[in-house]
């Protein structure tokens, strides 16, 4: 007899659920700023604006390092030999298969622009080292070729390509 009323939905049940639901939404709303404050702030994002790099002083065979968004960007002026080595690789033998043509801009085969951060755990590979004359990461032994593709070692992927475009034949804009 006494338990009958508890089986029915009452206005009070509705108020309890509504109060709890509003409380949960409120708690979730408070979490948003607490999480979001850790993302890059406005000044950091502003400092990550595109940069222009003049390629004219970079000699053939030279690799320069510029910084964009606190990442080192390797700009390699590849020699004929390096371009050939990158192009004739059997794609089936690569851990992360990508033809050399997909890693440079059309008509600019001699310019390879990659983010100089090892895709394993973020160290900076050393240029003109390793078995494939590309890059070698001193931290855990990953080896990259002249197209910045991973050939050996624990890194899972090729050196990533930053967004960039040729403004003129001797100038690129990164970002």
């Amino acid at each position: 007899m006494t338990t009958v009323s508890s089986a029915e939905h009452t206005r009070r049940d509705f108020l309890y659920i509504a109060t709890g639901a509003i409380g949960a939404v409120g708690a979730a709303a408070v979490v948003v700023p607490l999480i979001a404050q850790m993302n890059p702030d406005a000044s950091t994002i502003a400092a990550g604006a595109p940069i222009e790099v003049d390629l004219a002083p970079v000699a053939e065979g030279q690799i320069i390092k510029v910084f964009w968004r606190s990442k080192p960007i390797f700009i390699s002026h590849r020699s004929k030999k390096e371009i050939e080595a990158a192009q004739k690789v059997d794609l089936g033998s690569l851990p992360d298969p990508q033809p050399d043509s997909a890693r440079v801009k059309p008509g600019h085969d001699q310019w390879l622009v990659v983010v100089g951060i090892c895709t394993h755990l973020g160290c900076i590979p050393l240029a003109h080292q390793g078995q494939y004359e590309g890059w070698f990461c001193p931290c855990h032994g990953s080896v990259y070729d002249t197209s910045g593709r991973i050939r050996q070692g624990p890194a899972p992927a090729n050196l990533p390509l930053p967004p960039y475009a040729f403004v003129s034949d001797t100038k690129i804009r990164i970002g």
């Binding site: 993302n39 606190s70 895709t119 394993h120 755990l121 160290c123 624990p154």
Partner: protein, 408 residues
Amino acid sequence: MSGHSTYQPQSGFMKWMERRLPIGGLVHSSFVAYPTPRNLNYWWTFGGILSFMLGVQIITGVVLAMHYTPHADLAFKSVETIMRDVNYGWLLRYLHATGASMFFIAVYIHIFRGMYYGSYKEPREVLWILGVIIYLLMMATGFLGYTLPWGQMSFWGATVITNFFSAFPGIGEPLVTWLWGGYGVGSPTLNRFFSLHYLLPFVIAGVVILHVWALHVAGQNNPTGIDPKSDKDTVPFTPYATVKDGFMIVCFCILFAWFAFYLPNYLGHADNYVPANPAVTPAHIVPEWYYLPFYAILRAIPNKLLGVLALFGSIGILAFLPWLDTSKVKSARYRPLYRQFFWLFFAVCIGLGWLGAKPAEGIYVVLARILTVYYFAHFIIILPLLGIFEKTKPLPNSISESVLGSKA
């Protein structure tokens, strides 16, 4: 265990206090009248040493924070200022830096003692898991603290460790950017690491209170692994355990002082006296010695995601130890086979530590793979099977019998 019925406040003030906040009774029942097994050996003093070291780290850390600047352009300089200009700054910093190593030496002895004597078994599972949580918090705190001097090892250690999180597919990149507060490790990263490095020791202190609470509910394990059965098996915490712990803390301080005064940089890396340079990675990145076994496990696995998962798994598996070890007998004293496997496991951990400091090439990688497989096999194959097949030695009837012989 026997409650706080024996506490009789003496002074008028304590009588007044006891009716309002019975803290005197709590201290008395926990650290004075608390019955400890009479056969505890010196390996049981490391809990006290660890509490002492936590205190040392908090006190030296709080005063160092009064002179430190968590900014990418100023951090390295402020640490050098502490070393050269701040009164006794060199001493406080060396105590804090070598203190971290001492803290880890003590915690590793404490953990291996628990493994040898089966201290994680029923009814101490929660006590053990709280200990694993403290250990994880210690590792996080140590890593965050090592970043603060902003030398080359600080910077590249932070880069490598935060990049662990980029291994997770899909969420990896945004997660790492969120951790950094930028597009790479930089000033925002350093600033938040400092904030968390200041916070976590107090979180550790909180979990330590739970750890001690759980200890005092379940009672201490002891070298026989059997529970105290009568008053003859126990002695009161004060003076017996307090004096023994105190003596060992003094002995431990001799080791601590030896490192702090004579070998303050022995356990560090010379590279960390070079200011952080985001353009150049040091030739040989090595973490602090206390992470080396886990670093070896990470590098042993040729796949990035699996390597990171193995690293976390090698610590996480400790939490399941109470259920992976199926033997009813706790102490290795009465487990002839387990005793051998325990020392083999100990040797494997030391071996992984040694390999973690070696370059990841050639024979070192092969050895690291073998030892990594053994590390996990110890937990998921050897321990479950030993409990079934091992013929254990007969247990003594009581703690006092094991100490005094059958005439007790």
